[in-house]
């Protein structure tokens, strides 16, 4: 399909591409939000600069996907980002989870190990997905994937460096990293799944099959874990499937914060 007009003329295709775009958009949007809460709190100033650059890129990717949804007649991109209830969101539960105890403005006892593992595992899953999307049957999405892939290369390199450095360091780091890996793996399946409509997406050539993508993610992970003194636990979706609109309280509080100003007057121009 070359354009939004063509996609809209085919209801089955439109349903599948819309579903996929919501997953991609909501994943990037919520993790960029969580990342932005870290601003000023990273382990050192250089990391603050790098991390906020990654968050900004990721928010930009979400904006691209929301604009593609807008072009498909789903409504205004800003409304899609700021004004949908938790039950309508398709992001993975792992990505909505708070950064740690505390609030981003008061006593934030955020967990850097969790940040590194969550971002690294997510960036790798996103990389696998983006590589597949470069050949998507929906041309606007394939074009977006090429653009996003250029920035994603650096994100992945960044998180992989942190990951291997902390896992192999002395002191508390390896233990903290192990705990974070266990915690992330409990919900990682929710990131890797394409949800109940995944088979349709693959059949229509929008993206490859979930099973194939998941295998590729595991292959990449195995390469990284192989020389390390730890192994990757089984990935699960313990708290349910975000692709089906199942979410936690963490998403509600995130939506209240990120939509606070927007909701003061949704029709106003800000």
């Amino acid at each position: 399909m070359k354009s939004a007009q063509e996609a809209q003329a085919d209801p089955k295709y439109k349903t599948a591409v819309t579903e996929l775009l919501y997953q991609l958009a909501d994943d990037d949007f919520i993790i960029a939000f969580r990342g932005s809460e870290w601003l000023g709190l990273a382990p050192h100033i250089e990391e603050d600069v790098a991390f906020s650059s990654i968050n900004q890129d990721t928010m930009g990717h979400a904006a691209i996907y929301y604009q593609l949804l807008e072009a498909l007649g789903e409504g205004d991109a800003d409304a899609l980002a700021h004004d949908r209830e938790a039950g309508q969101r398709k992001n993975a539960i792992l990505l909505e989870e708070v950064n740690g105890p505390g609030h981003y403005l008061k006593k934030p006892l955020y967990d850097w190990a969790f940040a590194v593992v969550r971002h690294y595992f997510y960036a790798q899953a996103k990389k696998v997905r983006i590589e597949s999307l470069k050949n998507s049957s929906y041309q606007p999405l394939a074009d977006a994937a090429v653009k996003i892939n250029m920035e994603l290369y650096y994100h992945l390199l960044h998180w992989k460096t942190w990951f291997t450095q902390l896992v192999t360091a002395k002191g508390e780091a390896p233990e903290r990293m192990k705990n974070a890996i266990d915690k992330v793996c409990e919900d990682m399946e929710g990131v890797l799944t394409l949800g109940p409509k995944g088979a349709n997406m693959a059949a229509l050539g929008l993206i490859e099959e979930e099973k194939l993508l998941t295998q590729r993610w595991h292959n990449e992970m195995e390469k990284v874990f192989e020389p390390l003194p730890i192994s990757l636990p089984p990935v699960q979706a313990k708290r349910g499937n975000g692709r089906e609109g199942v979410h936690t309280e963490d998403l509600n509080s995130a939506l209240a914060t990120l939509g606070e100003v927007y909701k003061q007057d949704p029709v106003a121009s800000w």
Binding site: A42, P43, S52, H82, A169, G171, E172, W270
Partner: protein, 322 residues
């Protein structure tokens, strides 16, 4: 080699006079060059305060980064605050080089900040309770920063002058980002307009204070004489404040907004703005970390610093597995 040897034989006084000749002829001083002790100390104080202010300055806006009301505004403010952090990093690197011969590092800068020995800019001790403040900070606080920083673009210390060149270029974007937020609010609903007026009322005194006291008699200390003597800056605090008022008063008024100072007027004869002096005792109080948000923002940095101690340990040279 022979020039180095002969230079080493010069007395301190001769070195000093050569140094003054160099800066007076517009030459740049570099990190490894000989420099008078008070020049080095003035630069360390100025640049570490500037750097740490950029970093602490990210905190009032931090509040609004996740809350920005559209995707475009979210991207804009994320980019802006990232730049501020980047400026902080760049400036701390410049300060670190100056501190190196004294055996000091960034760690000392952070500890000085936490103890309250290293001050950060008065504006960053103030609350930013609405989205109007997020716009105003970009528009007027960054606008004021452009005026003070362009004043030092020709600073005699090369590394600082070069860092400022890049910083000023980015600050221009920040001011445009702030102005774009303000324009959208100014053209919006009554409630949106009220957000800007409230923010101006709240920030006016802090903006006047931003440039520092007119002279040492106001607050007891002022570094402006030393920095002018050493060609680090050219204009006085009052000249900078007047330049700010020249630039921004017409802009504020043209948006139909008011300035909370009934005495404010332009004296045509003296060619300067006459304004109600801010409370300079309060200024001293604020920069001593007794401002409305001083403790909260310092707490935020200290919490992050302590909470991430294990990461620093892991990254330290003896922390990695050999």
């Amino acid at each position: 080699m022979s020039t180095t040897l002969s230079y080493d034989r010069l007395s301190e006084e001769e070195k000093h006079s050569q140094f003054m000749e160099r800066i007076e002829s517009g030459e740049k001083i570099e990190a490894d060059d000989w420099m008078p002790k008070d020049y080095r100390m003035t630069l360390i104080k100025l640049i570490s305060m500037h750097g740490i202010s950029e970093i602490m300055g990210a905190l009032p806006e931090k509040e609004w980064v996740p809350k920005a009301p559209s995707l475009r505004r979210k991207l804009g403010i994320m980019a802006k605050v990232q730049d501020e952090m980047g400026h902080g990093q760049l400036l701390l690197r410049v300060a670190e080089d100056l501190m190196k011969p004294m055996g000091k590092t960034r760690e000392e800068i952070m500890q000085d900040l936490f103890r309250g020995d290293l001050k950060f800019h008065n504006v960053f001790h103030m609350p930013a309770p609405t989205w109007g403040d997020a716009g105003l900070i970009g528009w007027l606080v960054d606008g004021a920063a452009i005026i003070t920083q362009t004043n030092m673009l020709k600073a005699s210390y090369g590394p600082y002058a070069r860092a400022l060149k890049r910083i000023c270029a980015e600050e221009v974007f920040h001011a445009q980002h702030g102005e774009a937020i303000i324009m959208a609010l100014a053209e919006g609903t009554e409630e949106q307009r009220a957000l800007i007026q409230d923010a101006i009322d709240r920030w006016w005194e802090s903006l006047l204070m931003f440039f520092g006291p007119a002279s040492a008699t106001t607050t007891g200390t002022s570094k402006q004489d030393t920095t002018i003597k050493y060609r680090i800056r050219t204009k006085t605090n009052e000249e900078l404040r007047q330049a700010f008022l020249d630039k921004y008063i017409p802009r504020v008024l043209s948006l139909g907004l008011t300035i909370p100072d009934e005495t404010l007027h332009y004296d045509k004869e003296k060619q300067q703005w006459v304004y109600q002096q801010p409370d300079w005792n309060e200024f001293k109080n604020i920069v001593r970390n007794n401002g409305p948000k001083s403790k909260d923002r310092l707490d935020l940095r200290i919490t992050a610093y302590e909470n991430n101690a294990w990461v620093r340990e892991a990254l330290s040279p003896d922390g990695a597995v050999v």
